[in-house]
């Protein structure tokens, strides 16, 4: 059965909503935890040159592990729980989040940093009130990529039962029925689109000084 059975979708609207919410309950925390881990590590990598290569290297190696294998390997530690899915996805976000945060901090003009220090701010205060805000556009570009990537990767976790919309792929595959697979792909894209739009809105609200040319720069940076 290869044509889409349109009647199936409204019949399963409730299930689809639950799966979509479930999807975000895995992807959302993964990006949040990724950010909580990546920003401090990136600050260290930015300040201590010797550790930069090491941190970026480790996060790149994590990125090369096949996601399914990572979930399976986490099973003995975290079991068949949502934690397994979240930990796995968090590991993948680190690569892009650490890299972008370090690069954002590197790109802060020296005069801004020096002016803050000259005004008597401590290093921590300079970091929190000058460096991180100025690095925000580059960091947010990373958050956007990490979010879209996580939303797309959640489906792999359906092998351990926390795949959100990915359950629809397994379901369609087993029943040789394409409609749930189409629905799953379309809803995943929709979730990514909505999440990305929300992040753009958050960035716009957080960086009032960027308005006017934010759209142009962030488009170029979303590598």
């Amino acid at each position: 059965m290869n044509s889409v059975d349109w009647g199936w979708i409204p019949d399963h609207a409730r299930d689809l909503t639950i799966l979509a919410l479930d999807h975000m309950a895995t992807a959302g925390p993964a990006v949040l935890f990724g950010l909580l881990i990546a920003v401090p590590l990136a600050v260290v990598a930015h300040r201590v040159r010797a550790l930069r290569g090491l941190l970026l290297g480790i996060s790149s190696i994590l990125y090369t592990i096949p996601s399914l294998a990572l979930f399976v390997l986490l099973l003995p530690i975290t079991g068949l729980t949502r934690t397994t899915a979240i930990v796995g996805l968090t590991a993948y976000t680190l690569c892009v989040l650490i890299r972008n945060t370090v690069e954002g901090l590197d790109a802060v003009p020296a005069h801004a940093r020096e002016a803050s220090v000259a005004m008597g701010s401590s290093r921590t205060r300079t970091l929190l009130t000058v460096e991180l805000p100025l690095a925000l556009p580059v960091i947010m570009a990373g958050v956007r990529v990490a979010t879209v990537m996580s939303i797309s990767l959640v489906s792999v976790a359906s092998y351990i039962g926390y795949g959100g919309l990915g359950q629809l792929f397994t379901d369609g595959f087993q029943r040789n029925f394409t409609t749930p697979v189409w629905a799953g792909v379309a809803l995943t894209l929709l979730l990514a689109l909505v999440a990305d739009a929300l992040l753009v809105a958050i960035q716009w609200l957080c960086t009032p000084w960027q308005r006017g040319h934010a759209a142009r720069t962030s488009a170029g940076k979303a590598a």
């Binding site: 096949p66 890299r99 792909v185 142009r216």
Partner: protein, 242 residues
């Protein structure tokens, strides 16, 4: 934990595991073939698009947004869909891996082209170079480091994801992950994962070497005269606003 690592070492170094038509050597070769062919096809599609929008500056907004949209495409869903529609063939594997690589290469190629400073392009045009010459002699050499970064990122992602070929009954290193999962054999899963990671890192380093050589060749001609936009993803200097 220690036991697991010991078994893994035994598995990875056993001659029996490496030989034969279902041995590690065969799987490694299959995996490399799927990955490199997919990345090559993706590059043939993505490079012209990236270069075109970078050179003309037209359609960039649309292309970049489509590319970031393309990243959201779940590979498992895509491969399942193509599999259900096309039946048992290599199409599902190649289509889903190419779809994974294209957005990354387009975005980075465009970013590299956008980072070439307008003055350099104006100067080249002012010296009487045609649009093609500006593209090939000025823009491409200067954008090369970022273009290569895109290809490397794509290839790493494709190699990690090519495990999925085993999901639709083909070979590659994914066989160990899927078979190990089915047989509750953690050593096999771990072995497969290690081999994939090692392959990804090796190909990445090899391409890094190729990129450095290419940049060296191009650099002796053009790159010295302008700030080189070298670096990694997301590191793109914003187009200058003046």
């Amino acid at each position: 934990m220690w036991e697991l690592l010991k078994n893994l070492a035994d598995w990875l170094t056993s001659g029996d595991e490496w030989s034969g038509t279902a041995g590690i050597a065969t799987r490694l070769l299959e995996h490399t073939q799927y990955s490199l062919l997919s990345t090559l096809i993706a590059a043939l599609i993505a490079l012209p698009i990236g270069l075109l929008i970078g050179h003309t500056g037209r359609g960039a907004f649309l292309a970049i947004n489509l590319a970031s949209f393309g990243r959201a495409l779940p590979t498992v869903g895509l491969i399942t869909l193509v599999f259900l529609v096309s039946g048992l063939s290599m199409w599902p594997v190649y289509i889903s891996l190419v779809a994974l690589a294209v957005p990354v290469i387009v975005t980075n190629t465009y970013a590299g082209m956008a980072a070439v400073s307008p003055e350099v392009k104006d100067a080249a045009a002012g010296q009487g170079l045609t649009g093609w010459q500006v593209l090939w002699k000025v823009e491409v050499p200067l954008a090369l480091p970022l273009i290569m970064t895109g290809i490397r990122l794509a290839v790493v992602q494709v190699i990690a994801t090519a495990t999925i070929a085993a999901y639709v009954s083909f070979g590659g290193l994914g066989r160990y992950v899927f078979d190990g999962l089915a047989q509750r054999d953690l050593v096999q899963v771990l072995g497969g994962a290690v081999l994939v990671a090692v392959l990804a890192i090796a190909v990445d380093l090899a391409l890094g070497g190729v990129g450095a050589c290419l940049s060296g060749l191009a650099g002796s001609r053009a790159a010295q005269h302008a700030p080189s936009p070298h670096g990694a993803p997301g590191q793109v200097a914003p187009p200058h606003d003046r």
